[in-house]
């Protein structure tokens, strides 16, 4: 008896309601603009945004700028996640390392990645590295602590089982028990990093690094709010795609759950 009572509604019915709901929302919005209640720079019409969106794909802006942004994103995530997972494992496994590193990380962690922007710029300039640095910071803390928590929280009796089955070496236990048992937590950490990282990309680029974020700000300076919104749509769509893909991978890896 899980979930609240289900209305007798078919799969098709659901889809219809959902589409109607979105269509109604967009229609209302378009109507508001048509009524002339708002100047288009305060609220561009959905149709205008759609046209601009197609234009910006046609003139190659979206693919090009998205390319830059994804590069920042990928680089930052790769660094942040690898370091985070590695150090998280080590800290959960070695009490000594934990004692030494934990206070330093606890000291730095409350500073949000975006507060490092000035230093990112002064250390790396207005470059891919600066954006990647900011993204990797967030991903690092998140995956570090999720890995650490995941390893600490595994059912340690499974390690006993492995030992009775003849598995004696640390590396054997880490590889065959600790990592798979902590995998759900690690993957959750990575998924959270994907979300925060994407937000960081957009914000970091607004400080002058080529990419979608900068383009949005520049368009806003021209009061081309349809362009701003077209890029918001790009951001949303790409994130949706990334999250969806990752969830599929995650479900596949954790189908045993």
């Amino acid at each position: 008896m899980k979930g609240n009572p289900v209305l007798g509604i078919s799969r098709l019915g659901r889809t219809v309601v959902q589409c109607t709901s979105v269509a109604g929302f967009l229609g209302l919005w378009e109507g508001l603009v048509w009524l002339g209640l708002f100047p288009p720079y305060l609220l561009p019409a959905p149709t205008a945004v759609a046209t601009t969106f197609v234009d910006q794909i046609g003139n190659g802006n979206i693919p090009r700028l998205l390319g830059y942004s994804l590069r920042h994103y990928a680089l930052g995530l790769i660094w942040g996640v690898s370091l985070g997972v590695l150090l998280g494992l080590c800290m959960a496994w070695s009490r000594q390392l934990e004692l030494v590193l934990d206070p330093i990380i606890a000291l730095l962690r409350p500073i949000p990645p975006l507060a490092w922007i000035p230093f990112a710029i002064i250390w790396f300039g207005i470059t891919t590295q600066a954006a990647a640095f900011l993204i990797s910071l967030g991903a690092f803390y998140i995956t570090l602590y999720s890995t650490y928590g995941g390893v600490k929280g595994i059912d340690w009796r499974l390690v006993d089982v492995a030992r009775t089955l003849g598995d004696q070496s640390n590396w054997g236990i880490i590889r065959r028990i600790v990592i798979p048992a902590a995998l759900p937590a690690i993957l959750t950490g990575i998924r959270t990093s994907l979300g925060q990282g994407w937000m960081t990309v957009v914000a970091a680029e607004m400080f002058g690094i080529q990419g979608i974020g900068l383009k949005m700000l520049e368009a806003a300076g021209l009061l081309s709010m349809d362009v701003v919104m077209a890029y918001m749509a790009v951001i949303g769509l790409v994130y949706f795609g990334i999250d969806h893909t990752f969830r599929t991978v995650e479900d596949r890896l954790l189908r045993w759950r």
Binding site: V161, L165, G166, D167, A181
Partner: protein, 251 residues
Amino acid sequence: MRSTKLEVRELSKVFRTVEGREILALKDINLEVLDGELLCILGSSGCGKSTLLRIVAGLEQPSAGDVLINGRPLTGPGPDRGMVFQEHLLFPWRTVRQNVEYGLEVKGGPKTARAQECLSMVGLENSSEQYPKELSGGMKQRVGIARALANDPAILLMDEPFASVDAQTRSDLQAMLLTIWWGTRKTILFVTHSVEEAVYLADRVILMGSGSGHIIDTVSVDLPRPRYRVSPEFNDVRRDILKRLGFLTGE
């Protein structure tokens, strides 16, 4: 005459809690288990049954005393002793087959054939590609047994393996265990807190005192197998044990 497989001598175990208090879990345990014997250890919750088994498995260090296997002192966990746990403790990310293959994988060498063989012994040859979450409680316990058998250990340590399945499944599993024991002639240490289960399975039953961590009595069960749970003789042994455990003093 059968040889002694396992000997426990003057074994004691003291746990120290985080607050520094000492808990005497086992006190001066002496035990001899013959090769091929099916020994049940019976006692109520907290009397130290699991601790004893964990020490024999090599997962816990004794505070005093020795454990000898084939006359040689114990050095740690090893594939010569297989253990089955109450909470089944299967590796949830491995399929049934992969669970059973674990020990063989650690050892290296071929594994699939032996795993399949052990799964047949517990009647699960057709579920080898399922994940633990897809199995019923009874099936999980079977996999746990197959996994412990895969290394072909001489001694099988079973810690209340059937405590959390329903009555029907439980009696099926008991029958299966006897068949396997008969077929492989392993030495089995079987922990339980059900008098009925002990009487049904054991060659000999060790009774542990509640909360004191020592052996209060030993009862040989000389009933022929297969045993019949509602027969008067069965009921007599059951009654005898309950009396020795102090349950029937009010009568």
